[in-house]
Each structure stands twice: as structure tokens, then as C-alpha cells.
Amino acid sequence: MMRTAKIALALVATVSAQAASAQAVPSAPAPVQQGQDDGGLVVDVEGGMSAPLPILIPAMPTAQVTQTPAGSTDELGQKLAQIVNDDLRNTGLFKTSGPGANRAIGIGEVTAPNYASWSGGQALVQGYVRANGNGSLTIGCYLYDLAAQNELVRQGFVVSPGDWRRAGHKCADAIYARLTGEGGYFDSQVVYVAETGPKGRRRKQLAIMDQDGANHRFLTNGQAIVLTPRMSPRGNAIVYMSFENRQPTLYVYDMATRSNRKLVSNVSQTFAPRFSPDGRWILFSMATAGNTDIYRIGASGGEPQRLTNSPGIDTGGSYSPDGSKIVFESDRGGTQQLYVMNADGSNQHRISFGGGRYATPEWSPRGDLIAFTRTGGGAFRIGVMNPSGGGERLLTESWGDEGPSWSPNGRVLMFFRSAQGSGRPDLWAVDLTGVARKIPTPLDGSDPSWGPLRP
């Protein structure tokens, strides 16, 4: 973790002062203010697979082949182009043609594309890899419109060799942002519960990985059941539930120090934690004498404040991105349904009215949608609705889909799918058009929580 704290993943000023200033600002690839009105290529995120944009991504050349701790720079150029290819392909919005399917380009071509030589694509991604004297790597990232023959993206990233993959994700984020007008989400991590063992005695460990499954590592040893980890908005902490010493309660894991501390000092069972968007608060549920209510507590501790007070099970609280409201689930009306309240607990009102049950709500970081699990008729589904309860859309259906978590740009949901019989879960991602794909994990996986776009 020391390593992560130290990385300088900075936008390089290959270009302009604008790029240089972005170095200080925690990324947030601003939903492209520049690009929307200047014509050229536009990809409609909601349109999904209907007309994926063909995009060519040849290997990134290097001016001088150099050995680095991450491998030689020419091999890295191949792998980085593949990362960009895979990130963009996995969105379903692009028909990618990667380094294996395109001719090699010369270093001089990177900034002066030979437009006439490319066919079969509407856009072209080129880049380069350079090993710097101080041990860092510089990766250039360029996007060209092949029809209009102009440059759309020009960025450079400096990374330590251990973070070389992040440069590929940053490049893909820049391209995605430019072509869709949405923020990117590829340079992000996911914390989840890795599972092994028989159904009656699952062994559960916290694990963290890049959103594409790379750089996987475990955070707990599996001695105690752990559930529902959630990453903080800055990605520097994880709040989760553990049955350590048979005293099930919430812990906060500090990414930098790799240490745990108890969040709530109370004999009652606490669970269902979630950070506030500003990271200052944590919502959680506490079961006392058979009744479960929602509380909030300072992220660094303090006295919990009770927000709900119904005889039903109130749980699964999630803040709106401005922190003013909370969506949660409650069975106070007879079955699990979604409710919204003000952040102080006032004005609690129901927003879901469909058949079956609604659970595990999570407010989109864009604010426009609430994701949930809907169960009934023998199925568990992932769906979304407006914060007012309208416009419900079910995105998945299987025997056991549960627990959606939003991508940093609010366009993709990660969830887990349990198999009937064995109960073994896998991680899946689904976009808002309903296109789902499995996320590879070394063991079974459940309870994913998608962290922020990394600075």
C-alpha cells in the first residue's frame, strides 16, 4: 500500500497547461465540456450495442527498447494497446480492433497518423511508451477521427513501472470520455468478498482488484466471515462487516496502513454500511432486540445518530450524491420496499410499488437513478428506477442476482449472481442497456463495491 500512496500518476504536459493543471485536480474526467458541439464522433451510451463504433488500436511503439521492472518498453506497448482495446470493447459501445489485428506503427507516426493507410475503423488510437531516466514510464495517448482526419485526444501519463496498467486504463478513460461525453471508469478498483468452500461453511475473504480483475490481492485471511465491503469515496478506506470473535460488527480498513478498527462500540449487531459521498459519514444498520434501524456515525467514529424508528427492518441505506437524501429498504409495509428520506431522517416515503420485493438500493453517483435488487417469482433481478420511483427498468434476471454497485460514472453496475443449488456466486457487470458480462475472479465472488476513479 506504501507503493500506492507513492505513485505519481500524473497527466504530463505533453500538451497544454490544461493537461498540466489536471495533475493537481483529482481526475474526474469532466463530462467533456469541449467536445459536444464541435461535431465529429459521438457515441451514445444509452444506445448500447445497436451500432458499436469501429475503432483501431495498434500496438504503441517505443523509440528505444528499454528494459524496465514492468518488462521491455516494446512489450509494454503491445500490452497497453490491449488494455485500451479490452476496456473499450467491454463497454459494448465499440467494435475494437486491437494490436494483434493491426500493422505496427512507427514512432514518428504516433503524432502524424497516416490516415490514408487505415481502413475498417472510424477512430484510431495511437500511443507510445518511453522509459524515463528516473525509472518512471511515460505513455502517450492519442485519438484520431479517421473520417474527419483530426486529433480528438492527446494526453500523456507518467507512472511508476508497478502502475503501468493504470496508464492504459487512463488512456481508455480519456478516449471513452471524449467519444461518449460521459466520465470514464476504467482506472478504478473493486473491493469484494472472495469465497471458497462448501455451501454450509463458506470461507469469505475481503479482496481488492482493478475493475478488469488485474492486480488482485486479499485483505483478510478468511478466519472470520466478512460481508458487504464498501469503498470510501476517495478509495482510501473500506468499511465492512465481520463476524470476528462471533461479535458481528463493522470495521474500517485503512488502505494506507493496512489496519482495521471497529467503527461502532456497541454490543448490538451492526451491518449494511455505506459511506456518504463526502466520506465524512457512514450509514449503517443496527439490530437491537429484534428491530433493525438505520443510523449514521462519523467515519472516524463518535456517537451514532438514529435516523429511522420503525418496527420493521430498515436497512441498506445509501446517500444521494449531494448528501441531502437517503434511499433505504424497509419491510414496515409488509414486504421489503424502497423508501427515501432526508439525510436527517425526516420525510420518509415509499418510492417502489411493483410486485415482489425491492432491496439493496444504491443511489447513482450521477444522481439520476437508484439501482436495486428486485425479487419475486423465483428470480432475483437487478434494476434501476428514478429517485422518485418512476421509470423502472429491469436489467438482469437470473435465479440469484443481488447487490448492485455503481461504476464511478454511473453507467455500469457490478453485482453478484449466485447459482441455484451450489449457491456459488460470481461477479458480473451490466450496463444500462442490459448487456451483462462476467468479471473474472480467482475464487468465487460476491458483494462487489466499485471504488472511485483514481486520481
Binding site: 468452500g197 472470520a224 444498520s285 429484534g290 409488509g334 414486504t335 421489503q336 432491496a359 443481488e402 447487490g403
Partner: protein, 173 residues
């Protein structure tokens, strides 16, 4: 309109419960003893089979009708059968006044994870309250909810789910 929908849903839920409460679960395979599969240290220290295997708890299990009461779908009321089981537990506890127990509440796999933690807590406390009403001091009783994390029957069918909706009493000292 909302009210109508709610009561309709309630009615459906009640019918469903009544239906499955009558079903007697067929014989199920015993829960696997799985320690060997898990490797060193796996699962240690957080579940009943660690501390529930004490001689005292074994004696308790021999001398009561059952250490387990079951619940209907989404229910946490103590039915007549559960009452007989808890009565036998209350009698044993009255005769062993120095003992302390913990009651584990569990749910089946057809609920969401967090909700099931709340539901398991309801069930454990329903059993606790019954024992307390039978004169067992509440200070001798702790509760813990495992939600759907520790099923005892491993199938994905109504018979298995009925077995897993349960509260288990364990003598811890």
C-alpha cells in the same frame, strides 16, 4: 392505491406462508463436516461448530427436545411446535441456572443478504423473548444473526429453506 397494493401483497405473503408451514420437510442429508476442505485456520472462531461442541452443549442437546426451532417464510413467530421445543429448553436452563446461552438466528437463501441479517436477528430474539417469558433471565441469553451465511440444509428447494429458517440455542458456559 398504495394501500391496496400493500394489503394485496400481504395477503399473498400470508397465503404463501400458510402453504409452506404445513409442508413437512423430507429427510435431508446431514450438514457436511467440511473443516478438511478449507485449509488451516479457515472459518475459525466465528461459528457455532467451534464453541458449540463443548461437553456442556452436547449434554444440553441430549437432554432437550431439540436445540433448534423453525420458522415459516419471512416469519418469526413461535408456533406450537417451536413452543414445545423452547419449553424443554427453558426447563433445562432452569435446572442449570449457572449456564449461559447464545441463540443464533438464520434465514434461507431466498432473501437479500442484509435483510436476512435483520430477519435472523428477529428470529433469535423471538426465541430469546419466549425463554425470558418462561422465566429464564435475559442476562443469560445473547443473540447473534447469521442471516443466510450458514445454511444447515444445502439444497435450493423449499424443504432446505424450511430447515434453514431457524434459531439454534447453544450453551456457551
Amino acid at each position: 392505491m398504495a394501500k391496496m397494493t400493500t394489503s394485496l401483497l400481504l395477503a399473498v405473503a400470508l397465503v404463501g406462508t400458510a402453504g409452506c408451514a404445513k409442508k413437512r420437510p423430507p429427510e435431508l442429508p446431514p450438514a457436511p463436516v467440511a473443516e478438511g476442505d478449507l485449509g488451516a485456520g479457515a472459518g475459525a472462531g466465528d461459528t457455532s461448530d467451534q464453541y458449540g461442541s463443548s461437553a456442556l452443549n452436547e449434554q444440553f442437546k441430549r437432554e432437550v427436545m431439540s436445540d433448534t426451532v423453525r420458522f415459516g417464510l419471512d416469519q418469526y413467530d413461535i408456533d406450537p411446535e417451536a413452543r414445545r421445543v423452547l419449553d424443554s429448553q427453558a426447563q433445562w436452563l432452569a435446572g442449570h441456572p449457572a449456564t449461559r446461552i447464545t441463540i443464533e438466528g438464520h434465514a434461507d437463501e431466498r432473501g437479500t443478504r442484509e435483510y436476512n441479517l435483520g430477519l435472523g436477528d428477529r428470529r433469535a430474539n423471538a426465541a430469546k423473548n419466549y425463554l425470558a417469558a418462561r422465566g429464564i433471565s435475559a442476562t443469560r441469553i445473547t443473540t447473534i444473526s447469521y442471516g443466510k451465511e450458514r445454511p444447515v440444509a444445502l439444497g435450493s428447494d423449499e424443504a432446505a429453506w424450511a430447515q434453514n429458517r431457524r434459531a439454534v440455542t447453544i450453551v456457551i458456559s
